[in-house]
Amino acid sequence: MDVHGLARLAGPEHGGGSLSYRDDLTRMARLEVVVEGDDVPALRDLMASAGVVGFTMVSGVAGLGHGGFRSGSSLFNEQDSQALVLAVAPEERIETLVVGVRELLRERPGVMFVSDVYVSRPDHFR
C-alpha cells in the first residue's frame, strides 16, 4: 500500500509529529499492564466496558521488580504467574481504562505503562 493509501485510511484525525511517517498513521494510546494471572478476568472486564475491543496477552511473564524476582509460569499453575496485557485504542478509551486499572492496582500487585502509539489501520482498534 502506498503512502497516500495509508493517509486515506488514517482519516482526518491523524496526529502531528515531527517525524514525517507519523503523518500517515493514526495516533492512539497503548496500555501495557503486568498483573497476576488471576486478575486477568478483572482486566478483561475493564477493557470490555471501556470499549477496548482487542488486546494481546502474554501469560507467564518473568521479571524483576518491586517485589523481587518473579519466575515465569510454573508448569501446572497458571494462576501463580503474571500476565502482560497490551491494548491499543483511541486515547479517550484508554483514559477510561487507565482509571479502572489504577484502581485495580491500588490493591493488587502489578505495573502499568501508557504510551502514545501510531497505527496504520485504526479501524482495527475501534
Binding site: 508448569l75 501446572f76 479502572g100
Partner: protein
C-alpha cells in the same frame, strides 16, 4: 456523554467513574470463594482471597464479612485435651514455635521459695489456656445497605431484598432445571430485570415505578444507590464487599460464571440488589430511630485484662501473686497481653497440629525401609494419585513386595479437554489451576459401522430419558405421565431402597444389553503433537522420579467415585481432574508412553522404557474400592498373564482397603471388638454404599487429611498413614535442575492445600463455609444446592463429609508438607514464588524438610530453616 447517563434518577456518571466502580467490584469480589458448579466441584480455600495474610489475621479479617470462626473454639480444644489428643508437651511446643525468644522456662516463683509452690512462666500461660475465660467471638459486622437499614430500626428490607435477589439469580443462573426460563443466559441481568420487574406485584407500586425509571446502566444504578444511602464513595470498596457477602454463595457463583463462562456479571447483580434496596428504603416510612438495635456481629463485652488473667491463672496454680518479683510479674503480664483470649484458640490449634505432626515425623524418622529398586525388577509399578485415599490402596498393594507404587497428581500431567465417546461437550480434566492444553476424544475401535451403531444406541438410550423428561415438563402432558409412570417408578423406588446393589446390577445389565459401548481408545493423532507427547512424558516421569528400572507392567491408576443421588458426587472424585474421574487422563498418558516414537525420543533424553514394558491405565472407584483396568483390549497378548496377576493384586488390595475403611464408616457391618470386617462382606458393603440412593455417607472422601509427603516411597513404605497423607513421589537426584520440585510445590501442593482448607473450614464453620446437612438439600440444577426451600447457595462441603451427627470425624489440622530434598533448593523455589511464600509464612501450610535420610527435620520459617522442635518439655504444673 451518552444520553443514557441522563436517566431520571442519579447524577450524570462519567465513563471514568464507571471504570473505577468496575475495578472496585473486581477487587471487592476477591473476598468471595471460588464456587464452581456442582458437577465440576473441586475443593478450594474459602479464604483464598485472604491468603496473603497469616491465618489468624486472615480469619479475623474475613470475620467482618462472614462471621467465620476458623477454629474449634476453646471449649472444644479443652475437650480434645481431656481426650488426650493434645497434651501439655504439645502446648509447650506450640508456645515455643510461636515465640522462641520468650524465656518460657523462667521460674517466676522458685520452687522452694516462700510458702507457696513454684511456677514457671510456661506453667502460668498453660493455666491461662486451660482455665482462662473463653473469649466471645464476633459475627459479621460489615452490613449491606439493607441490613444497616434494618439495624437502624427501619421496616424490614433485608429479607425482602434477599428473597427477590435469590429468585432472579436462580432464574438467571439456572442452566436447564426450569423449563420456562427467559432469563437464562440473558447477558445483561440488570437491564432484563428492569424491564420485567415492573410487573412484580409483590413490590409496592412506588417501588416498581422507581425501579423502572432507574438508570439504564448497571454501574449507574450501583452508584445512584450508594449516592442515596451509602456513606460516600471513600469506602465504596467496603460497601461493595458488604453487598457481595450478604448472600456469599450466589455472589461467589456469579463471580465464577462471570470469570469463566462469561454469561453473568457481578455489576448486574449489584445493580439489581442495590437499586431494589434503595427503592425499598426510599419508599418505606421513616422509623423511630430509638428502636435501633446494635450491630449484631459486634461484641460489647470486653475481655479481662492481662493482669486479671495473670492473677486468676496464678490462683489456679496455687501461687500467691505477691510472691512474684516485679520483673517476673511484668514479663507474665506482657506475655499474656500478647496471647489475648481471642488469639488463645490459635495456640490450641497449633498444639493440636503439633501432636499429629510430631507423631508423624517421629514415625518417618523411624522408618527404615530402603529403596529396593536396584535389587530386583518389580513385577509391576502402580502409579496412583496423590489423594490421601490412594495411600490405603498403595499400602495394601505393597503387601506383595514385588509391586512398587508411586504417587503422582491424578491428572498424570496431561491437562486435557476430554470428549467421551458419547459425543457431548468436552470436559476440562485438569486441575483448576490451569486450562486444558489439548482436546482429546475417545473413539470407538473398529469400523465406521460399529461407531454408527454405538451412536444410535446411545441416542436411543438418551432419547428414552429425554422423552420422559419432555413429557414431564410440557404443560398438560405431565398429568398423564405422572399417573402412568408412577406404577413403574414406585416399585422401582422400593427395589432401589431394599436392594441398592440389586437395582444397580439390573440397571447396568439393561444398559449393557440395550446399549453396550464397544471397545474404545483415545486417539492421540491430531490431538497431541508428538513434541508435546515427549514433553508430557518427560515431565511426568521426572516428577515422579521414575526414569529407570521400569517393570514389565506400569499401571497408571486414576480415581473416581460413583455415588447415587448425591449432589456432591464430584467432591469425591479427583480434584486434580476438575472434579471428574481420572481414568481419561491415565488412558492418555498410557497411550503416550506406549507410543513407539515417543519412547524413541525419550531415550535421547536418557529415559529408556524397555520394549517389554507395557503401560496400562486403570481407575480406582474410591467408594467401592474396585479398581478397573481400562482399555484391556490394548494390552498385547505377551502381557496378558502379567495383567491377570495385577488384576488379582488390585482386587485383593481393594478388598483389604474396603475392610479397613469399614471400621470408620457409619452403618458398616462391625465384626465385633477390634476385629476387622471380613474383606468379602466389606466388599459387598461398600458396593452397596455407592449404589444406595439413600446413603448420605458414601465414603469419607479426603476427611482426615493433614500432611503431604514429597519424597521417595522408601520414606513412608513402612508406615500405615491411615489415609491421612498426600503422597507425591519425588527423587531429587533425578530432578537435576529442580524444575520437578518447583512444579510439585506450586501445583499439587496448592491443590492439596485447597482441599485441606476446604475440609478445615467446613468443619470449623459449617454454617458459613459448609453446606449443612445433606438431608434437606435442594439442588438448583447443577449450579449449587439450597438448604431448604430458598436462601443462599451453599458453599463448601456438606456436614456428612466431615462429621457424623454432632461428632466431627475430620480433624481440622492445617497441612504439613514434608519434603526430602536439599534445603537450599527448596528455599530458592519458595523465594521465586511469592504465593507459595505467603502460604508458608502465613501458616496455611507448614513445611518441614530434610536433605537425606538420617538427617533431622527442619522447618521452613520466613527467617530461615529452624530445627523441628521436638515437643519434649516436661511442664511443671
Amino acid at each position: 456523554m451518552s444520553p443514557t447517563a441522563l436517566a431520571p434518577s442519579g447524577p450524570p456518571v462519567s465513563d471514568a467513574v464507571r471504570a473505577r466502580l468496575r475495578a472496585d467490584i473486581s477487587l471487592a469480589a476477591r473476598v468471595l470463594p471460588v464456587s464452581r458448579p456442582l458437577a465440576d466441584l473441586v475443593a478450594v480455600n474459602p479464604l483464598g482471597g485472604f491468603e496473603d495474610r497469616d491465618v489468624p489475621t486472615a480469619v479475623e479479617a474475613a470475620r467482618a464479612w462472614y462471621g467465620v470462626v476458623g477454629h474449634l473454639g476453646e471449649p472444644a480444644y479443652r475437650a480434645v485435651y481431656a481426650s488426650g489428643r493434645i497434651d501439655d508437651t504439645d502446648l509447650a511446643a506450640a508456645l515455643r514455635r510461636w515465640a522462641p525468644e520468650i524465656p518460657w522456662g523462667t521460674w517466676l516463683v522458685a520452687p522452694g521459695a516462700g510458702s507457696g509452690r513454684g511456677s514457671t512462666l510456661e506453667a502460668v500461660i498453660l493455666a491461662d489456656l486451660h482455665h482462662g475465660e473463653v473469649a466471645e467471638i464476633g459475627g459479621r459486622t460489615e452490613m449491606s445497605l439493607a441490613e444497616a437499614h434494618d439495624a437502624r430500626g427501619g421496616a424490614e428490607v433485608a429479607a425482602t431484598v434477599d428473597a427477590h435477589v435469590v429468585r432472579w439469580c436462580a432464574a438467571h443462573l439456572d442452566r436447564g432445571q426450569a423449563s420456562w426460563s427467559p432469563m437464562r443466559g440473558e447477558a445483561g441481568l440488570y437491564r432484563a430485570w428492569q424491564q420485567l420487574v415492573r410487573h412484580d406485584r409483590t413490590l409496592a407500586r412506588a417501588v416498581r415505578r422507581r425501579l423502572a425509571t432507574g438508570p439504564q446502566r448497571p454501574e449507574d444504578a450501583v452508584l445512584a444507590a450508594f449516592d442515596a444511602f451509602g456513606s460516600g464513595s471513600d469506602d465504596q470498596l467496603s460497601l461493595l464487599r458488604a453487598e457481595l457477602t450478604a448472600l456469599p454463595g450466589w455472589a461467589a457463583h456469579l463471580r465464577w460464571r462471570s470469570d469463566v463462562t462469561g454469561d453473568a456479571a457481578l455489576v448486574d447483580y449489584l445493580a439489581l440488589r442495590l437499586s431494589l434496596t434503595a427503592a425499598l428504603i426510599a419508599t418505606s416510612s421513616p422509623q423511630d430511630s430509638a428502636a435501633s438495635v446494635p450491630n449484631p456481629g459486634r461484641i460489647d463485652r470486653t475481655a479481662p485484662d492481662p493482669a486479671t488473667r495473670a492473677r486468676i491463672a496464678l490462683h489456679r496454680l496455687g501461687v500467691d501473686p505477691g510472691a512474684l518479683d516485679p520483673d517476673g510479674w511484668d514479663l507474665l503480664v506482657e506475655v499474656l497481653g500478647h496471647i489475648a483470649p481471642s488469639r488463645r484458640p490459635w495456640v490450641w490449634q497449633a498444639a493440636y497440629e503439633a501432636h499429629y505432626r510430631g507423631g508423624l515425623l517421629r514415625s518417618l524418622s523411624r522408618s527404615t525401609a530402603v529403596s529396593h529398586a536396584s535389587d530386583t525388577r518389580p513385577r509391576a509399578q502402580v502409579v496412583c494419585c496423590i489423594d490421601v485415599r490412594s495411600e490405603g490402596l498403595r499400602r495394601h498393594l505393597e503387601g506383595d513386595p514385588e509391586i512398587d507404587t508411586l504417587g503422582f497428581a491424578g491428572f498424570f500431567a496431561v491437562a486435557i479437554g476430554w470428549r467421551a465417546v458419547s459425543g457431548g461437550q468436552s470436559l476440562a480434566n485438569c486441575p483448576a489451576l490451569i486450562d486444558p492444553r489439548h482436546e482429546v476424544s475417545e473413539v470407538v475401535m473398529g469400523s465406521q459401522r460399529v461407531a454408527e451403531g454405538n451412536r444410535r444406541r446411545t441416542a436411543a438410550w438418551a432419547g428414552t430419558r429425554d422423552g420422559v423428561h419432555e413429557a414431564e415438563t410440557t404443560p398438560g402432558s405431565a398429568f398423564a405421565l405422572a399417573e402412568a409412570a408412577g406404577w413403574i417408578t414406585g416399585p422401582v423406588a422400593g427395589l432401589r431402597t431394599a436392594s441398592p446393589t440389586g437395582w444397580e446390577a439390573l440397571r447396568r445389565g439393561t444398559r449393557r444389553r440395550v446399549a453396550a459401548t464397544p471397545p474404545t481408545t483415545v486417539d492421540l493423532t491430531g490431538c497431541i503433537p508428538p513434541a508435546d507427547r515427549v514433553l508430557t512424558a518427560r515431565a511426568a516421569l521426572t516428577m515422579m522420579g521414575l526414569t529407570s528400572g521400569f517393570a514389565r507392567l506400569v499401571v497408571l491408576c486414576g480415581h473416581s467415585s460413583d455415588t447415587a443421588a448425591n449432589p456432591y458426587e464430584a467432591s469425591l472424585r479427583c480434584g486434580a481432574c476438575g472434579g471428574h474421574g481420572g481414568g481419561p487422563n491415565a488412558r492418555v498418558l498410557a497411550a503416550i508412553l506406549n507410543d513407539g516414537d515417543t519412547r524413541e525420543s525419550l531415550r535421547s533424553h536418557g529415559i529408556d522404557l524397555p520394549d517389554d514394558t507395557v503401560v496400562v491405565a486403570a481407575e480406582h472407584d474410591t467408594t467401592s474400592d474396585v479398581v478397573t483396568v481400562l482399555d484391556p483390549h490394548l494390552v498385547p497378548s505377551t502381557h496378558h498373564d502379567d495383567l491377570d496377576r495385577v488384576r488379582y493384586d488390585l482386587d485383593r488390595a481393594g478388598a483389604a482397603l474396603a475392610a479397613e475403611r469399614c471400621s470408620r464408616l457409619p452403618g458398616a457391618p462391625a465384626a465385633g471388638d477390634d476385629a476387622a470386617t471380613p474383606p468379602r462382606s466389606a466388599v459387598r458393603h461398600v458396593a452397596r454404599r455407592g449404589a444406595d440412593w439413600s446413603e448420605t455417607f458414601p465414603e469419607w472422601g479426603l476427611a482426615g487429611n493433614a500432611a503431604f509427603v514429597i519424597g521417595p516411597r522408601s520414606l513412608t513404605r513402612d508406615l500405615d498413614l491411615q489415609r491421612r497423607v498426600f503422597l507425591h513421589s519425588y527423587d531429587w537426584t533425578v530432578d537435576t535442575d529442580g524444575t520437578a520440585l518447583e512444579t510439585i510445590l506450586t501445583a499439587p501442593l496448592v491443590v492439596a492445600q485447597w482441599i485441606n482448607c476446604q475440609y478445615w473450614l467446613s468443619s470449623t464453620d459449617p454454617d458459613v463455609f459448609g453446606a449443612g446437612t445433606k438431608t434437606v438439600h435442594n439442588p438448583v440444577g447443577d449450579v449449587g444446592v439450597l438448604s431448604g426451600r430458598s436462601g443462599d447457595l451453599c458453599l463448601g462441603l456438606p456436614r456428612q463429609s466431615v462429621a457424623v451427627g454432632p461428632v466431627l470425624v475430620h480433624e481440622p489440622l492445617r497441612l504439613m508438607a514434608v519434603v526430602q530434598a536439599p534445603l537450599d533448593r527448596i528455599s530458592a523455589i519458595v523465594d521465586r514464588h511469592p504465593r507459595l511464600r505467603d502460604l508458608l509464612a502465613g501458616g496455611w501450610v507448614t513445611m518441614v524438610a530434610r536433605g537425606r535420610p538420617g538427617e533431622g527435620w527442619t522447618e521452613w520459617t520466613s527467617t530461615g530453616w529452624r530445627d523441628w522442635l521436638a515437643p519434649s518439655m516436661v511442664v511443671e504444673a
